[in-house]
Amino acid sequence: MARPFTVAPGRAYQQRMAGPARCAMRPDPCGIFQEACDPTEGRSQQPATGARNRAIIGECDLRTKGATMKVLIIEDDVEAAAFIVKGFREAGHTPSYAADGETGLEYAMSDDFDVLVVDRMLPKRDGLSIIAALREQGRQTPALILSALGEVDDRVAGLRSGGDDYLPKPYAFSELLARVEVLARRATPGEAQTVYQVADLELDRLSHTVKRGGDDIPLQPREFRLLEFLMKNAGQVVTRTMLLEKVWDYHFDPQTNVIDVHISRLRAKIDKGQDTQLIHTVRGAGYVLRDQA
């Protein structure tokens, strides 16, 4: 049986996309892969699109490492998947897509992805069991679970079964993108740093000290944790929800401007009187700590 809405990742994907017949067929009614139909165009355009996109979010390259992620999206809602795929592509990443659990697991086993985005309820095999099967095989690819169930206990169940993050539907794409990028970053080696450094800002996790240009900056414990999280994910957009989750360990929607006020306080301590501002606001998404240069 044909899988009209699935595209195999990696080599298989490129093979299938190579022939002009494929392009003519356009088996995908919602236009997920239309842009990818011309492989040369798709490939060559991507960095440019990515750069442009990033330029708009933060007027500079968001990912200090500059690496594109390989993301596997396992989602049976074609329309939603189309949007995610497009979004990841525009953000300069390489998305692959599977429409059911079996195919998704097959792809996830056969190729190295940086991050998996897995819908919880899928035909043939549910999202949690895909992750469980992968973990059994020793694959530690970080996985983000998408779910229509937004309950706290659902989140707990999702994280317990090996998921690394959990996002209830419906979600803002910027939230998904930020979380996936943070997940991909986390998987990269060299994570267990004791000292984070961005430009002339230095945070020592062991001695709990923060220095900017050699000057000590006294921070309250929560401010320290906030800065630690921002620096750990330097260059990555982090959303308000993520900050509340990671720094305060609460998952409810932050009220109005609570997080903003914390950030502006931190900003006053870190950036005030400095030539280079390190903490930046990304409208409609969150914050990013990065070196302007």
Partner: protein, 492 residues
């Protein structure tokens, strides 16, 4: 708004009815007895008239036959006969020839027809007793007068008896009325109080409350049945309304998210011009607010649906408050409001849903900061544990909420700001209340004098407070140690 005021016994319908019935029955009894008295005496008079006429005729015949002696003899005979006839005979000069009367009113002989008067009766044993009589004077042809009378002393006795009966019956009526009033008051009023109490609780928001049906099949049971049926219908309608708003929130969330994503997408494209960009960014902010409202609505719906006992876990309530205080401290500081929390020395470990409780306390603090405390005011957080329940209090020194509005503000979308221009969705307290109910507790809104004192009361389950390390209260998903220092720090 709150519970029904106790009925005043003298203002009840039962009392008024009792008084009305008492007056009506009293008047009726007096009328009836009066009529009886009147009728008996008129019957007596008629009967006397008849007998006297007959007697006069008989005496007349004796006089015609036997002259004065015959008459005298007839009177003597008649007096011997049993009965209450009394006689007197007068010669033409008015001298009494014989008389059963001790005294006689003067001028009696000139009276025509029936005359009624009191007299002293000469009893055979020489005694004299007060009595009254109805008499008739008959003038004989040769100037003699015969006075024929009937003693009606007996009827007076009857009348007195009737008067006594009247008094007794009125007294009995009074007693019956009082007893009846007590009965109505105690039994019937109790049921009416039951009904008004139930309606008061229903008005306080507990729509599932019902009026008790006693099963006696009386009119109160019928009334209760009818009211309960009406309440059932009301509840269905209210739930329908709630469902509709929840469904709207649920169904609009997805297209709204899509819209938001489209805007975000548009913002990611190169800027055409600054105004378009700003418009898009503003639209994005508004969409986020709308989504937050829907999210709150759905959270309330989910929390109210309850049935999530398994989400309860042992956690430190005091730590939740520390977290929330710490989260809101910069916001408070920006408004120059002192946000204080006297953290207890020991953790208050209870079976809670930490997320929901955090959300509820955050909402209370958010409310206090937004609408409660004035500039340079204060908001105080506290937690008390008396072993059977935990009381989390958030008090501000702002304008407070008038007593009459304290029930209303818990409803969805109810805002005290009439113009609805102030920031906020009007869902905060509804959410807090839902979280309280989720924990089998309740939300109390009181007066902090001045200001609002919102108290979240969570009853403890079977598990009493035990000695636990602070770490026991920390969330299981987190491996960091709780920040113990923040609670003690003032709003510097």
């Amino acid at each position: 708004m709150s519970s029904a005021t106790k009925l005043k016994p003298f203002r009840t319908t039962a009392f008024k009815l009792a008084v009305a019935y008492l007056v009506a029955f009293g008047l009726f009894a007096v009328g009836l007895i009066g009529y009886l008295v009147f009728e008996t005496s008129s019957v007596l008079v008629r009967e006397a008239d008849r007998r006297l006429t007959e007697d006069a005729r008989r005496l007349g015949r004796h006089y015609q036959r036997g002259g004065l002696n015959g008459l005298f003899q007839a009177i003597q005979d008649s007096a011997q006969r049993p009965g209450n006839q009394i006689y007197a005979l007068f010669d033409p000069t008015g001298r009494t020839l014989m008389s059963d009367f001790g005294t006689l009113p003067s001028g009696i002989l000139d009276e025509p027809g029936l005359v009624r008067f009191d007299y002293e009766q000469q009893l055979p044993d020489g005694d004299i007793r007060q009595s009254s009589a109805i008499v008739r004077v008959i003038a004989l042809v040769d100037g003699y007068h015969v006075l024929i009378g009937i003693d009606i002393g007996q009827t007076n006795v009857i009348r007195q008896a009737i008067q006594r009966a009247m008094l007794i019956s009125v007294a009995l009526l009074l007693i019956l009325a009082v007893v009846g009033w007590f009965y109505v008051d105690k039994r019937v009023l109790k049921r009416i109080e039951g009904i008004s109490g139930a309606t008061a609780r229903i008005m306080d928001g507990n729509l599932s409350e019902r009026i008790q049906v006693m099963g006696t099949g009386d009119e109160f049971d019928r009334l209760a049945d009818q009211l309960n049926a009406m309440l059932g219908r009301l509840e269905t309608l209210m739930n329908g309304l709630k469902e509709v708003s929840d469904n709207i929130a649920h169904d609009l969330r997805t297209p709204l998210t899509r819209m938001r994503n489209q805007m975000e997408d548009a913002l990611r494209q190169p800027p055409e011009n600054a105004t378009d960009r700003e418009a898009l960014e503003n639209a994005l902010t508004e969409a986020d607010k709308l989504m937050a409202t829907f999210q709150a609505l759905l959270t309330i719906a989910r929390v109210e649906a309850g049935g999530r006992r398994h989400t309860l876990a042992e956690a430190d309530v005091a730590q939740v408050l520390t977290d929330v205080r710490e989260l809101y401290e910069p916001v408070a500081e920006d408004k120059a409001i002192a946000l204080t929390y006297g953290a207890p020395s020991r953790p208050v470990v209870a079976s809670i849903n930490r997320e929901l409780l955090g959300l509820a306390v955050a909402n209370l603090v958010d409310n206090a900061l937004k609408y409660g405390a004035p500039e340079e005011g204060e908001v105080n957080l506290s937690v008390e544990d008396d072993g059977s329940s935990i009381r989390i209090t958030v008090a501000d020194n702002g304008p407070g909420i008038p007593n009459g509005d304290r029930g209303r503000v818990r409803e969805r979308f109810v805002r005290l700001d009439k113009s609805r221009t102030a920031e906020g969705s009007g869902l905060g307290l509804a959410l807090v209340e839902a979280v309280a109910v989720f924990h089998d507790g309740r939300l109390e809104l009181g007066d902090a004098e001045p200001g609002l004192k919102a108290t979240l009361i969570l009853p403890r389950g079977q598990k009493p407070s035990t000695e636990q390390s602070p770490e026991a209260g920390a969330p299981s998903s987190s491996n960091r140690s709780p920040l113990t220092g923040t609670a003690a720090e003032g709003a510097s």
